[in-house]
């Protein structure tokens, strides 16, 4: 495999008032093994930011740091600032944090409950009991996730009866029932067929009007189709982070160029 200078990088900065989330010098260790090296990057509000890079480049690991899903599996060093607070600190209430920063995983993972119960799960956990309000949230979340038309007559049917694409949109709907600020998507379409993928991409695009969306993808066309900014990770290092149009037409780092043109390694 070709060696690249991992210390050379090109990372875009944003004006402070545009920044939703600001990571500074994040290092992640799985036991002795370090998987993310000194990653610093800012995430602008109401934009879609895509992480690309080969398997094992540390992009998913870094994504999971952003709502503390690495807590039990890895040690995370560094600062992640959200609303003026370092959320990577033991003083933070992670349960409240995850209400603000929601997450959707690679495999659609609905609970073996009805469609409606999947959506009301988080609401009930956080003490919302008013039936009218709950119905309202169920409806609006399904609409935002572009699933309402397909399931409006079968809200009480088991979520296990949905197709893969529908189940994933249900998971997105479930993640936005708490009206989060930021949505993390970990390869949300890699287990889905092209038609479902297209629907989810459209959903993500629409959601970016209200939420900041950070997604990991293995599909470079997907990154170029829907994201506003793209970050390229290589061997645990953030190599390049810039406007998507620039990354895909005129990258400034050699590693990025090799990766997007398929001349990697």
């Amino acid at each position: 495999m070709k060696q690249y200078d991992l210390t050379k990088n090109n990372i875009i900065q944003f004006k402070p008032e545009r920044v939703a989330l600001d990571a500074k010098h994040v290092n992640v260790f799985y036991g002795e093994k370090q998987s993310t090296f000194d990653v610093s990057m800012q995430f602008p509000k109401n934009r879609i930011i895509a992480f690309i890079g080969a398997s094992g480049s540390g992009k998913s690991t870094f994504l999971r740091c952003l709502n503390r899903m690495n807590d039990d599996v890895a040690t995370v060093d560094g600062q992640i600032n959200y609303e003026g607070l370092n959320i990577n600190s033991s003083a933070i209430n992670v349960y409240e944090l995850r209400k603000q920063i929601g997450m959707v995983f690679q495999q659609p993972n609905p609970f073996a409950k009805s469609i409606k119960d999947n959506l009301t799960f988080a609401l009930k956990k956080h003490g919302i009991k008013d039936n009218k309000q709950i119905d309202q949230v169920v409806k609006s979340s399904l609409k935002k996730a572009a699933l309402y038309e397909e399931v409006q007559d079968s809200l009480n049917k088991s979520a296990m009866s949905l197709s893969g694409g529908q189940a994933q949109r249900l998971c997105i709907a479930r993640a936005i029932t708490m009206n989060p600020d930021i949505l993390l998507l970990d390869e949300p379409t890699s287990a889905l067929d092209p038609i479902s993928t297209k629907k989810i991409e459209a959903t993500i695009k629409e959601l970016s009007e209200k939420y900041t969306i950070i997604m990991v993808t293995h599909n470079m066309q997907q990154a170029s189709r829907i994201s506003d900014y793209t970050a390229f990770f290589h061997m645990g290092h953030l190599i390049e982070y810039d406007k998507t149009s620039k990354i895909f037409t005129n990258p400034s780092e050699e590693a990025t160029e090799d990766y997007i043109t398929g001349h990697f390694g």
């Binding site: 944090l97 995983f105 609970f111 296990m160 998971c171 708490m178």
Partner: protein, 300 residues
């Protein structure tokens, strides 16, 4: 060309092995089926003899409260009530402990903790029931006597001994069912901002519920069928239990106590076979319940 044709039409060594293997397994399965069928048939005919050749009314057998077959009194209700009593009480005490231990081992403890606990629970399974009975007789019975009065023998002492005996059964099966809950349920729940306790209580236990129910029923089947340890602490007098500390008898303890003192073919012997038949029917019933729960509880 014709050689290939020949080969395709003729059975080879592999096909013969295949047939041989299939015959062996059919034979083994057949043997077991015949064995089970003949056990059921044997116990059923023996157990029915009380009603057919001794002309005991089956309803009176099940509802009568006086048991003294040598004097033609065959009311088995005290044993039935006691058997159910110790079984339910033992399951009732054991289940919360079992679930707590299982949750601790699967969701909370680190690897070291569960590695330490695992052999302890497995050890409980391996202790012979006579040892449980002996400990029950020397520790539990006097303790019950001092705390609750009476002789100390009875349903309470029996339940406490059975509680320890069924605890590992329920715990191990509950652990298995908790481990079978897909890990993405945990991730999904945590990512929605649920706390660890909410995740365990609302998601993991809910998803594992059929498995936990099965575990409880298995534990109850074990408690229902246990003879020796119960016999040592229950008091062995075939009387209707008047309280949790009055000496009484279970179906199994009555069988082990009396079986040596009866003559084949007489009413006292036949009456014991009828008790055995009730035990057999109950274990079939427990099996059906487990099957039913497993079928109903599939994630869908």
């Amino acid at each position: 060309m014709s050689e290939i044709k020949n080969k395709l039409l003729k059975p080879s060594k592999a096909t013969k092995q295949d047939r041989f293997g299939r015959r062996i397994s059919v034979l083994c399965i057949g043997l077991i089926v015949i064995l089970v069928a003949s056990i059921i048939f044997f116990i059923a005919t023996k157990g029915m003899a009380t009603f057919i050749s001794n002309h005991v009314n089956p309803i009176k057998f099940l509802t009568g409260t006086d048991w003294s077959p040598s004097q033609k009194m065959t009311g088995a209700l005290p044993m039935i009530v006691t058997s159910f009593g110790v079984t339910l009480l033992a399951a009732l005490i054991a289940t919360p402990f079992a679930i707590a231990i299982a949750i601790y081992m699967t969701e909370i403890a680190n690897k070291k903790g569960s590695k330490f606990l695992q052999p302890i629970i497995e050890l409980l399974v391996g202790i012979p029931s006579v040892v449980y009975g002996f400990v029950g007789l020397t520790v539990v019975v006097p303790a019950v006597r001092t705390l609750f009065g009476g002789t100390g023998f009875g349903i309470l002492a029996g339940s406490i001994v059975l509680f320890v005996m069924v605890l590992p059964t329920i715990t191990t099966l509950t652990i298995d069912s908790l481990n079978a809950v897909p890990s993405h349920y945990r991730k999904a729940s945590l990512a929605l901002g649920a706390t660890r306790w909410q995740t365990i209580y609302k998601v993991i236990l809910r998803a594992a519920l059929p498995g936990i129910m099965t575990a409880i029923v298995f534990g109850m089947a074990r408690a229902f069928g246990e003879a020796l340890a119960v016999q040592m602490v229950i008091g062995n007098s075939a009387l209707m239990p008047t309280s949790l500390v009055s000496p009484t008898s279970t179906l199994t303890s009555q069988l082990t106590t009396e079986v040596g003192n009866t003559i084949m073919g007489t009413l006292p012997n036949n009456a014991l076979w009828s008790l055995a038949l009730i035990l057999l029917l109950m274990s079939l019933f427990f099996n059906l319940v487990v099957k039913y729960i497993a079928k109903r509880g599939q994630l869908k």
